[in-house]
Symmetry: C2
Subunit: 375 residues, 2 copies
Amino acid sequence: MNPEELLMIPGPVPLHTRVLRAMARPMINHRSPEFAEIYEECISILKEVFQTRNDVFVLSGSGTAGMEAAVSNVVKGDNVVTIVNGKFGERFKEIVALYGNPIPVEYEWGSPIELNDVEDALEKGASAVTMVHNETSVGMLNPAKEVGALAKKHDALFIMDGISSIGGVDVLVDNWDVDIAIVGSQKCLAAPPGLAAVAVSEKAWGRMKAKSPYYLDLKVYRKYAAKKPAQTPYTPAVPLFLGLHEALRMVKEEGIRERIERHRRCAEAVRKAMDAMNLQLFPRLNEVSAYSNTVSAIVMPDGVDDKQLRGGMKKRGVLIAGGQAHLKDKIFRIGHMGNVSAKEILTTLEALESTLSEFGVKAEGGVATAKEALG
Amino acid sequence: MNPEELLMIPGPVPLHTRVLRAMARPMINHRSPEFAEIYEECISILKEVFQTRNDVFVLSGSGTAGMEAAVSNVVKGDNVVTIVNGKFGERFKEIVALYGNPIPVEYEWGSPIELNDVEDALEKGASAVTMVHNETSVGMLNPAKEVGALAKKHDALFIMDGISSIGGVDVLVDNWDVDIAIVGSQKCLAAPPGLAAVAVSEKAWGRMKAKSPYYLDLKVYRKYAAKKPAQTPYTPAVPLFLGLHEALRMVKEEGIRERIERHRRCAEAVRKAMDAMNLQLFPRLNEVSAYSNTVSAIVMPDGVDDKQLRGGMKKRGVLIAGGQAHLKDKIFRIGHMGNVSAKEILTTLEALESTLSEFGVKAEGGVATAKEALG
């Protein structure tokens, strides 16, 4: 373990010392008023981050547990429109297939969603739509507001994976009619990995199925959250809640708008730098899709492969991510979420220029361009 | 939050400073060789603790997630003998009911299991038996070896919740033919809450169902554990793995036999103290059941109620647990698991004598008796 390495992968992200220290506090009883206070403050700040008045719960499990909680509580043999343009969209479809019938709206990974296709699929009759807001696998932001409106029009639930967007880009859960939204702790919130928060609308409560996995039954989470003191149904991962609590306090101190703007500024600097370096961003866009402000996917340049590139970066103290599944060796990814600032962006670009140069790839001017963009 | 409070509840238990510090290390990539090394060493020590050569996996979720993983991977419409004599036996039955048909073998909470009843139930034809080894809710150790033999005889899988026994009492997973065994991180292992480890036998692998909850699919855990570097399928709760790793190293340093003997000695001291104080242990025993060595349940004496007793203990800096569900106000519970030593036992008994005395309950000599027993 080398604590000097800079984690620029799309989660887990580096944790602030305050968050690390919070986790190292002596253990407390999870059925105590002390824990309830921490849990309730987490929920209260999460509601602000989700921009929602819906119920919010924190599950002790990864983002995938949150995705499965979302689907399994409201789908039982139903038709569900599953939008796929990357790895996590695929995962949503696989989860839906366990509980109902996916009506797939599928694209090549990194290709934009066409709203007409979504509408056509909804017209076949579906009780829900699943979509990944920020497709971490391809560095792409999918059109949540528009898909939310289509779902509402067809009286379907909108289930949105906001795992790597919420806290880093603007997400208006209520305004966009997101019925179930999920965030992962280890992404834009800069909290430790291992927790997923789920926001549930009144419409979703009205369509809960009797049975879901025991561990993921949102009705039970609601029952325990209403207890005095507030509780989770099963022993929560207490140190992670302590870490999340401190991380959310930091979100609040920074301000949510400021945090979103910081993510935008850092992402824009990376994109401008790629342009200056003649490196090509991977996703294709249309009028409703956008580059992600929390992770950038870049086409692997000729003359270097995944192992060389990531090895060279690691040698320089910076960890970046490769492509997943069939995109391995085709793209690389830079995470810029959580506590990321100009310093980390410039360090990363510096290492990237130097690594590419080592392998004879001509790619310069990234640092200078980003520096200017970051002001 | 008052770090001075001594947690004597049946988990989460107090964490050693080494474990707290381990969690506060800077974040690492969960797909790195560094993480794989930590994960693999955890698995290796866990196998020694489980006394097994079976596969072991660590899930990012509570003990309940481990129980559901155990049941949901091997039960689909099957008949399952569900042994219940406490709260967690009930939970197992509820989980079984989601995936198959429970054949209940039920007793009043705290009453011993009769092996004849288990055999009768197995003769009705069942593919599995579920049992809680250490019933935390009533301070009782159920007969794992004997039930394992019966399950084997009837060619049923033996699914055993060892959440609060493994690491604190002798559990011979292979020798007792336990097909799926579960431990919780926050109990005898003295690791942070939020992880469950599951051991799976060859016989259980041979009876895996095609579908289980996505997040709990043990086949996928096996696939990822075999990767080089070893991985978990979804982003693991990294800080908890770091904490578990350090806690398991401490288990190894102490020695598993020594650890079990320490738990036995502390538990015996508590029981002798209760006897001296004229307090009555709650569980009823028969020839195959025993008092738990990791948690003691004691009948609430006349003249004091749950709120007064636990409030008085808390005022003296010691947190103990009450009875759950219909046992609230009927019993109280002292957890003595994890890093517990003579010091904590004596502090707890001292506070108990003093609290009872405050409410006019005559109960003395506990500290002196325990002191003698602890040598």
